[in-house]
């Protein structure tokens, strides 16, 4: 439905004989509404539309481009910039141990994504080990076990142990001795109001000094995306973001807020429940989908 509204808007712009200040005002209103329906944060929407308003009439357009195509390009570019542009994501180093710490809100898709990342890195030739450090959710260890066994990726966990920090410490030591290239640590879901859990993950990061902290964001996350992501970036050094469940009806606009709040780029997107349902994040493709 949202895709329809933005798609219609783009069509409307194309049909216009030209764009003057009044037509632009209507275009901006439509655009704003479409962004909000895609869950882009209110303040970001307002800021983006302000920028477009200024640029649409103040910039010199290359000859041959209709102002309306210029406006569409402005919208596209503005959003791609918000996503951290097309910057290169940090690669993991081979020939040494890399530790990845997965964090995120309850139910966002962390555990499933750990399975997907294990499969992804294994197919790239890395030796992967996983530590199940979720001491809260019943069946968390079994869930990982069922995901990883077909992949032949080793799992370390202690379902009876209630202290997550203890498990992580033991797990890292265990895999260091096993000559593993990448250790992925799965943690319990938590949100910004659970201060003790945010403290726990902060302690965990200080203790294991991961090479990368990945924040997993649910593609359906709405206006709360910014403040939740901010809390995670205050507790840990979020290095990248993975947006899940983009195979559904959600547009993932909340991801823009998460990037803005953490200054971390989106590295992958989850597009299904299968272990292979992980795709490289391509900003222009994501924006194209956002824009219908």
């Amino acid at each position: 439905k949202f895709g329809k509204s933005l798609d219609n808007m783009i069509r409307k712009i194309r049909k216009l004989p030209r764009i003057d200040k009044d037509a632009l005002k209507l275009v901006i209103q439509d655009f704003q509404r479409a962004l909000l329906s895609a869950d882009v944060n209110v303040e970001i929407c307002l800021a983006v539309t302000e920028n477009i308003k200024k640029k649409a009439f103040n910039e010199k357009i290359a000859t041959g481009i209709a102002r309306k195509d210029f406006v569409i390009k402005l919208i596209h570019d503005e959003l791609v910039t918000l996503l951290g542009g097309n910057q290169n994501v940090r690669k993991l180093k081979s020939n040494r141990l890399n530790i990845i710490l997965m964090v995120g809100i309850q139910g966002s898709g962390k555990t499933t994504t750990v399975g997907k990342l294990s499969h992804y890195y294994r197919s790239k030739g890395f030796k992967v080990g996983v530590v199940s450090a979720d001491t809260w959710r019943p069946g968390a260890y079994q869930q990982l076990d069922q995901l990883l066994t077909p992949l032949r990726v080793p799992l370390f966990g202690e379902p009876e142990e209630k202290n997550a920090l203890k498990i992580v410490k033991k797990g890292i030591r265990h895999f260091t001795n096993e000559n593993v290239d990448i250790i992925i640590v799965d943690t319990a879901g938590r949100h910004k109001e659970e201060k003790n859990l945010m403290n726990e993950v902060q302690k965990m990061e200080k203790m294991i000094k991961p090479d990368e902290v990945i924040l997993v964001i649910d593609g359906t996350l709405g206006q709360q995306a910014y403040s939740q992501a901010k809390a995670f970036s205050e507790a840990t050094h979020v290095g990248s973001i993975i947006v899940t469940k983009l195979d559904g009806s959600a547009k993932g606009g909340g991801a823009l807020s998460a990037v803005a709040a953490t200054n971390a780029p989106i590295k992958f997107i989850g597009v299904g429940e299968r272990i292979e349902a992980l795709e490289d994040f391509i900003p222009s493709k994501f924006v194209g989908n956002l824009l219908g």
Binding site: K1, F2, R33, L36, S37, A38, D39, V42, I105, Q106, G107, S108, G109, T112, G115, W136, R137, P138, G139, A140, Q142, Q143, L144, D145, Q146, L147, H191, K192, E193, E194, D218, G219, T220, L221, G222, Q223, Q224, S227, Q228, K245, D247, G248, S249, A250, K251, G253, G254, E273
Partner: protein, 283 residues
């Protein structure tokens, strides 16, 4: 002065933004503001009370959506009514991935137990890794029987077995846990229809994540049109969710929000209070 389109315009834009900031779906927010505008156009207000009158009218409009005449809907009463017929009250729980269905079922079991209502649960999520173990451990903690099958067995028949078992043992309630699914997945939506057809639930319960934005409207709309939603529960309200999701769901399903999830413990389920909610939304 008299309220008309132009003097209300600016204030309504602000109110609409407030609703959107609190996760009310854009379409729902604008529709509510339109309805409110139409209701009060032509009314007389004092020069200083414009904003207050608009806010009050909006409050009334929202209350109306949330307090539909089903607010007299008491789940516990309905279960007691069904008890008299010697048939179990069957609840089918559905929703997209990760919204808190399984955890909510555990909380409902605890609630029923506290009210001397016996329950049996069907582990009809036979797909997701660890789903059966997760539900089994929850049920063990609350002291409730689970009927389960093998992974990849037919979800509808697990529900059927649970109902058979409930009938044989005189158990009051059967709750059927289903796998999370995206509304865009035709096969999974068909599977859910089959589960409903085979098990004929008394209550089809939608579980939505209060942190979800506009998509919760798509979800509620899709499940409602293909299966029919009788009531909803929104979870993770403790995450400082502004709760707009409740309004979007109530608006599209025209059915009550029964409870809100406020944490991960077995007692973290509170009855939904429309008045408290409206204050939270407009406060």
């Amino acid at each position: 002065r008299t309220l008309n389109e132009s003097n209300m315009e600016k204030t309504f834009e602000e109110l609409e933004m407030t609703l959107i900031r609190n996760d009310v779906a854009v379409d729902v927010a604008s529709e509510i503001c339109e309805i409110t505008k139409r209701n009060i156009v032509g009314e007389k207000v004092g020069i200083f009370s414009l904003k207050k009158s608009l806010l009050d009218a909006l409050r009334v409009a929202i209350q109306e959506i949330l307090s539909m005449d089903d607010i007299s809907f008491s789940l516990l009463d309905r279960i007691q009514e069904k008890k008299k017929t010697n048939q179990p009250y069957v609840i089918l729980v559905l929703g997209v991935n990760g919204t808190g269905k399984t955890t909510t079922i555990a909380r409902l079991c605890k609630l029923f137990k506290d009210h001397k209502i016996s329950t049996i649960v069907a582990a009809s999520d036979t797909f997701r890794a660890g789903a059966i173990e997760q539900l089994s451990i929850h049920m063990e903690n609350v002291g409730i029987r689970v009927v389960k099958g093998q992974y990849n067995s037919d979800p509808a028949s697990v529900g059927y077995d649970a109902i058979d078992s409930a009938m044989a043992k005189g158990i009051d309630v059967v709750i059927i846990d289903t796998a999370g699914r995206q509304i865009t997945n035709k096969n999974l939506m068909e599977e859910l229809k089959k589960i409903k057809r085979v098990n004929n639930p008394d209550l089809t319960l939608f579980v939505g994540d209060s942190l979800a934005g506009n998509d919760v409207l798509n979800q509620a709309e899709a499940f409602n049109s293909s299966l029919g939603i009788d009531a909803s529960i929104i979870t993770k309200v403790d995450a400082d969710a502004k709760g707009g999701a409740a309004l979007s769901i109530a608006h599209i399903t025209k059915r009550p929000i029964l409870y809100i999830g406020i944490g991960q413990g077995y007692d973290d389920l509170k009855p939904f209070d429309p008045e408290w909610f409206v204050e939270k939304l407009l406060g």
